[in-house]
Symmetry: C2
Amino acid sequence: MAAHHHHKHGGTALADAAQAALIDAGEQWTDMRSDIFSVLATFEKPASAYDIADMVSQKRGKRVAPNSVYRILDLFVTTNLARRVESANAYVANSHPGCLHDCIFLICDTCGTATHIDNDILSNNVRAAAEHAGFAEVRPVIEVRGKCADCD
Amino acid sequence: MAAHHHHKHGGTALADAAQAALIDAGEQWTDMRSDIFSVLATFEKPASAYDIADMVSQKRGKRVAPNSVYRILDLFVTTNLARRVESANAYVANSHPGCLHDCIFLICDTCGTATHIDNDILSNNVRAAAEHAGFAEVRPVIEVRGKCADCD
DNA sequence: TTTGCAAATGTAATGTTGTAACGTGCGACG
DNA sequence: CGTCGCACGTTACAACATTACATTTGCAAA
């Protein structure tokens, strides 16, 4: 496994990285996708498709249907630009598009914020356990609900 | 940590064990709860609250509203008689009520069945990682989506 | 017995999340 | 110029979940 850095992108740099990653995946970087990504990236907490739809609608001065948002979020998830937080029915931008390890979300039940940690050893162990049970094409979903340091 | 057996209960024995566990938790074992538990236990796959509502309605010959089901499912989850599968918006009966370790669900994307494995080492590692990040009162959600042995 | 309380369940309405089906605009390419 | 494919729009609906309040039940104190 090659070593690689995780310099997190922020703001415009993040959007640029996302754009590069999408194009690299053979997809287009349209205005709509750009808007949705940047809105998603501004959220502190995991954002629902409807939250995003509202924000993007405001930004564009024209109603954008949840439907359209879902389509693009799905694309983002499959191309690893964003991730779905299953236990919150919500999405977060991937702060380092291009790197694609499994990640572990810590979601605060009090304030709703989600931090994410990478721990390949842990997630690989989960993968291994699932494969040992006969599963293939495994996609781990590792999330932890709890109370964050700020909300103690 | 004391050693303990995991003889899985089935059918009536499971319902009996569930009843004992609920009463032990200071709650009542009512007809409604009994019906909901037994219906839940008959499902092979994770069942949604609405699935259960339908089945119980049939069984009773009278409509049982989803919210009644949710109430009781919540109770079951907090008393460890059932678990919620977050990535499927559905519930499964705990096949050994009374034992309360974290468990890992393997959900087949093809056939929808969920098997569950216990691996305290793994889940404790996840707990530890979360606590190391400043989280308290952690509740791990470890699920793996994939393709089961039967669906290969 | 009756009264009163608390827990469990019923009922209705509504909110939130997610999909399906089909139509439209637009650029690429022969 | 067609026509093909892709992105996006529009509408409708399905699935999941919660809220507020009413009614019933069981139990115990007066």
